[in-house]
Symmetry: C3
Subunit: 364 residues, 3 copies
């Protein structure tokens, strides 16, 4: 791999393929890169097509990238907290619609430790204890009756992008122990983001308070295996008692440590999405940010349809990659004619390498 | 808030919500973050939905973020210049069309101090003394007869994105005291950028030489309250006699100090856009950059229509957020069925926090 | 231009137009900026409309920007290697379709020095010895029979975005001396990226293993002068024996040294694309990244048509600028009614200044 900072002995005198660090790199930049590297080298070690390196390379990557405390810097989670929660796969399957036309939701906002990888627990600000919060699924014209109770320390709120309401009232912040209730009727179908709208919004999204509300059109779309992918970023500060704190100032730099789908880097490399040949697959993709687009792409396939606006209209066809803006959502469809293992990636690969990759297995 | 670099006493032992700075942060990164923070913490203190924190939090933010000279770094404007120009709201209302079919414009390019916030005056390179320059409004098929006289020190020029002309001739640079005249007839409707095209273009746009030319279609669009929003970035160098100089090298890093609409961070939080219930609102949005997209979103609403190309065609519907590329423009429409206070934001929130937020008040 | 780090004597006491460096800039940031600056100041010195500064300014830029070893930092190529390959223009003309319906390609992957500018040779990882690799041109429904033989040291592979195949098999990595063969039949027309898909993909794309496969629709598009532009980024490490090594960790920062079309910064400023008045021009634009979008724009023109998905459908009209996502491609058309010299640029100008600019000359 030769992607380490240490210059390694080149394979031959003739061709030097070392990816060298700049000589002028100072401690803090080095520090930043360490954070990046450890994650980068973690991901490729887990997946199929994304680990095409030789066993020797993988061993080297492991040796230099994953086990060396020297490379882990301030973001290292060398010591998990004593009561670390388990690493749980976030279920990407779109939950079924309710037979009721009114969805009654009562959620809690709270601060909670969230396990995002084998060796990292973050101090999340959450909806319902997880990052992202739960997937909401309803239809155009349904009514969502939503209550948020704040069990957290700082004020929180809820902003559904699918709602048409006065934000000053409905999306208002509530203090610890208080609640807010509002209702709305989605007018448009689509993959909508929700998030805490309490200032500074950057901090509340960056700390984990986001998720997806999927609004299906009144007339159902063609039958498909439907998945929800919410891309987001983590910006790490120092851990306190083994729990990584989020760093607002690093969020402002827009240079993330992790970019991932559904809160855990590379989780769907380890435990892929599975469909059958002939299936239509529909990805409801939300870019929660807080800062970056998702350049969504499936390796070995093209999207038959991307809905730029509300489905079933607003469609373009024959697309390799399309950008979902931060705070936005789009719907991507493909028909799985070919069996195999198809990575889905953020093709902005500096961010892809930081965890926004997964695997779609199409079984024969 | 707990977004300061200093570790504050957590609210309880159990839940530590401090957003910690990385231990390895060195002076200059700290310096960068200080610039960012002071602006960030300024904005939320001014608006409605964007300041949902408790009074105690706001006080803390003020104490640690806004009044401490320690946090203001090189970009601080602790001392306004003696003859500081007043802070003036940039009128976002689309000016009416002329009854004439030929628009005759004679503008001056000059270097001028521009007040962009309570405590900041920048050394602008401007069209007509302001950042952005004036809004031009014409129709497809109208003729624009444009003269630029350079009253500045360095050469300047004018590049209208709505023009179809030989840039080597029409957009040529003119030295101090000289003029250039050209005419053009817009072929397409849309929200077009204009800017100084003199090399290095990055510097001329970054120093303030940009604006919007709005081309309405021949057949009028549906009646609406129409606003023009030009998103842009500032990259601060050290002040000279209280006037902030722009820093070309920081422009190259693409990490801005301020991102805002119509040249002043958060101005439409302080003095919102106002419409009535039932109004159709049309935003003509230009991303002047010089570097970044605008992820344009209205909190509590969805866009009925976004015109990706020339209106009235090229429309998509039911959109929460769409990206306007740097150097591009799009048109966003919504119908205000609900009264209330609707923030419009750049949902890339690291940039939103730096000033690209405003407020649309829908009165009953 | 006054864009240097050194404070220069301002032109007058009244108006100080110095673009000052922040006082707190530390060695490494300075180092980064030096890399950026030297390239920036190189480009404007070469083109027509992009060098509208006075001769005096140009001389100053040269004096401070291009000849001073002090400014060149780690990325300087003060000493070309003894056997430096010549600087060759990458032909941007779309190659003609074959009369055969099956395209048989046998390519080599290898590590090779590539001359990307007068003073820079990089240690490329390449397809067929160049960056980008060759342009492939076929039709929807044609068959591409592709063999890759790895003549390089590290494992490599090939991922065609136009293919619908099992990536685990077709896009698998092959070790030195080995080969992989696969065939595919493009279903959709468009400007598709290809690249090495071996982990870490960021490194393989960043080191040069990318290119374009252009798929024309079965029914030909309107006759046009057709060009292929692949935008990409370089991230420089230290040179070894005069050959610049790529730096994986800098790729992760997403802050490039060079952004350019077809592998060489500013090559089409020096040797423009040439067409005649009345010609329709069709740009097949691919953003190879590895990280960034292309905000594609032609100065002095608007695009009659941008195909967001497969042509001839999925078109929008009357567009000044549109973003091509990293890992994506779009098709841009304009009709050259006006003779002149029209720069085509990445309007994210921090990246435009780093080399993603060219010139389209429309001859009378």
């Amino acid at each position: 791999m030769h992607v380490n900072e240490e210059n390694q002995a080149p394979s031959s005198d003739e061709t030097k393929i070392v990816a060298a660090a700049p000589s002028g790199s100072e401690p803090s930049r080095r520090d930043f890169l360490k954070r990046a590297s450890i994650l980068t080298l973690t991901i490729p070690g887990a997946g199929a097509m994304l680990t095409a390196c030789t066993p020797e390379d993988a061993a080297t990557a492991g040796e230099h990238g994953m086990t060396s405390g020297e490379r882990t810097g301030g973001a290292a989670a060398t010591q998990l907290p004593a009561n670390a929660p388990p690493l749980r796969r976030y279920d990407p399957v779109l939950p079924p619609l309710s037979s009721e036309r009114t969805l009654r939701l009562h959620w809690r906002a709270n601060e909670a430790p969230v396990r995002i990888s084998e060796d990292r627990v973050v101090n999340g600000w959450t909806f319902e204890g997880d990052i992202p919060g739960p997937v909401v699924h309803c239809r155009v014209g349904d009514t969502v009756e939503f209550t948020l109770t704040n069990d957290g320390i700082v004020p929180h709120s809820m902003d559904f992008h699918a709602a048409r309401v006065d934000p000053k009232v409905a999306f208002r912040s509530v203090a610890k122990g208080e609640s807010v209730t509002f209702r709305f009727t989605p007018k448009y179908a689509g993959a909508f983001m929700y998030h805490c709208g309490t200032a500074p919004v950057l901090m509340h999204i960056g700390a984990g308070m986001f998720g997806a509300i999927i609004v299906s059109p009144r007339t159902p779309l063609p039958p498909a295996k439907e998945f929800v992918l919410v891309q987001s970023e983590y910006y790490f500060g120092d851990p306190v008692d083994g729990v990584i704190q989020f760093d607002f100032n690093r969020m402002l730099t827009t240079m993330p440590d992790v970019v991932c789908f559904n809160g855990r880097p590379g989780q769907y490399i380890r435990e892929p999405l599975r469909v059958k040949v002939g299936d239509r697959v529909r990805f409801w993709v939300v870019s929660a940010g807080p800062n970056h687009i998702s350049s969504f792409h499936v390796v070995g396939e093209q999207f038959e349809t991307v809905y730029l606006g509300a489905p079933p209209g607003n469609a373009i066809h024959g697309v390799q990659t399309f950008s979902v803006p931060a705070g936005g959502g789009m719907v991507f469809e493909l028909v799985c004619d070919v069996p195999g293992e198809f990575p889905f990636v953020n093709h902005s690969f500096g961010h892809g390498e930081k965890g926004s990759v997964g695997l779609l297995v199409v079984e024969p």
